[in-house]
Symmetry: C2
């Protein structure tokens, strides 16, 4: 179920690879506003999780979800899910600015939380989330899909870990997306995508994917946003949309990162976005072409290009790598470990995204 | 004579396309330190120029040049060339920090000057050069080869001019280069490449290509360096080398630009550098893969990828576009016009490169 035209509906399916026995890991979906919930549930189910139930106040979202996951039960309310002792984790994709409030409720109910990115929209929410994690001992995991649910990203991580390009000195990410139109204008995008307090701004929203990747591939624990910019260059009909954003980060190990995100994917492109990531190392470099190989029709995703002292290779890893994050997350919930992604890392990516958004210079249209 | 392993020896040959009759445009080469002088002379000769004579104080450089251009005369001195009334233009590729002094002499001798990039290394030199141009009425033209001597760059410029991607909102450039070793260490790079006052720093040197392209493709006349960084991450044996640099520029039309330059091209790569340029427009985007198509052996250069509302196309323009800069420069010299590149543009690219270098934050190795 790969939707090629709309990034919000991108929900990859991988090879089932259960890490638990049936019934050992039961979860629910709460908040179905963003299509990412499908990818989140797919990933957990493929790793052996049982999707028991789901809820959203909007009946249209519930109906769409029921068609995709007919085996799951339509809960009557949020409280039914929060009170269900069998449910270990709640996956949620509410409006971005409501994700933290939901997470606080989920954790207070004694469950782990797995939210779509961005995990929250303000530094105040982040402080609350950090405090709640500390207090409850529960997880506030984040679906940074552009790394954890993209095979090229997983494979590139393995290459870096194996030392294929030496020490990483810089990461550059491009996160272009197709905008489409709002529901109001006859399109598919809910109105809240265009309301800044709801989606948090482009650097908070799709920028968070890139901040996470910069932290991950450089192996850094922290970083400083040294420059960020946003603009609405060409969408006056959506005055609160940032259609462009970019950001420079210096990491605590003095590697650096740069990324650009935008809503300018043109209609002639085969895919909703030509996502790229370039990892520069002291002994080589890696390029990811995540969802397509630009200029090659029907190219599929999963392109990883590597050059180092020994080779120059185009790896096409689609269908070959899978998504180990989900099985690790399930085991982390059961064993109280942090093998999928540390809590500090997930929150740090959010923190730097929020700082980038807050401090961004606005480039006015001229 | 494409040298694939060493960018300094990259001297493309295009289709001859003379804009003048034999003898109408006579030029000389003075200062043969950088291999770019070969590309500069090739370009002018293909456009109908006559290379009359050449000189460099170093006999080794003279001998190599003589092998390449056996029809040109070895002048006995710099003064012989400067005093030759037939010579309209002097092409030079001395050490970067000596390029301005040479230019001042050339212009004072009543000739136009065509220098390798970077055209100079300090803002003081730039002020002198600007003053001399104003005073003498002569040209201080610059060989920003990564645009004017690269077919993908020429073709991309045509696409932008034709409105293929709407209004340009951002340009991102990658200028990776293979370092090799210094002569002292048994390699080919002259010592001055590793002495900062001589080469000016990475943002001044190879960065100037990218600043020029950012100005050109955004159609801007001016810009502000909003962030720049340099590092020596992995070459402690060359303490004055910047092996990494990056820079963000905001243009006077509020488009923006980012570039990274580095000396990390690994030995396994088919080419001395995987130069790229990404032009984001309101209605599409263009990627240039200038010298190679990463991962495709023997791919050749001249790859331009375009997506807009109508199409997604991989153009391979190698051998099809040529290099119109040189013919225009010859006619500009004869007609006192500015069709190849304005003087303001050439100096502005240098100015912003120098400011980027001067203001760069140094990322220390950790």
């Amino acid at each position: 179920m790969i939707n090629v035209s709309d990034g919000a509906a991108y929900a990859p399916k991988g090879k089932p690879n259960a890490v638990v026995k049936p019934g050992e890991f039961v979860f629910a979906a709460l908040g179905l506003y963003h299509g990412h919930i499908y990818g989140m549930c797919n990933g957990l189910i493929e790793a052996g999780g049982i999707l028991k139930s789901y809820y959203d106040p909007d009946p249209a979202y519930r109906a769409a979800f029921a068609r995709q996951f007919p085996g799951a039960k339509a809960a009557a309310s949020e409280d039914e899910i929060l009170g269900d002792k069998e449910i270990i984790l709640v996956a949620g994709a509410t409006k971005t600015n409501e994700r933290c409030a939901l997470g606080l409720k989920v954790m207070a109910a004694g469950k782990d939380y797995f939210t779509d990115k961005a995990p929250l929209t303000t530094l105040e929410q982040l402080a609350e989330a950090r405090e709640a994690v500390k207090r409850t001992g529960k997880k506030y995991a984040v679906y940074y899909s552009e790394r954890i649910h993209v095979e090229s990203a997983v494979f590139a991580g393995d290459l870096v870990e194996q030392g294929a390009i030496g020490r990483v000195v810089q990461v550059i990410g491009f996160g272009p997306h197709r905008l489409g139109k709002s529901v109001r204008d006859g399109g598919n995008r809910p109105e809240w995508f265009f309301v800044k307090k709801d989606y948090g701004g482009i650097l908070c929203d799709i920028g968070s994917h890139n901040v996470e990747q910069i932290l991950y591939y450089t192996g850094a624990k922290d970083g400083t946003v040294v420059k960020s910019q946003i603009a609405n260059y060409a969408h006056p009909q959506y005055p609160e949309l940032d259609d462009f954003g970019d950001c420079q980060i210096v990491l605590d190990n003095n590697a650096s990162g740069y990324f650009r995100v935008d809503w300018f994917t043109p209609d002639g492109l085969q895919m909703w976005g030509d996502g790229r990531l370039f990892i520069l190392g002291t002994e080589g470099y890696i390029e990811q072409r995540k969802y397509m190989n630009f200029g090659e029709k029907g190219s599929g995703g999963g392109h990883v290009l590597l050059a180092n002292g020994k080779e120059e290779t185009h790896y096409h890893v689609e269908g070959k790598v899978g998504y180990p994050f989900f099985g690790r997350l399930i085991l982390d919930c059961l064993n109280r470990t942090e093998t999928a992604m540390t809590q500090d890392h997930a929150f740090k990516a959010a923190e730097l995204s929020l700082i980038a958004q807050r401090d961004a210079v606005v480039l006015e249209r001229k």
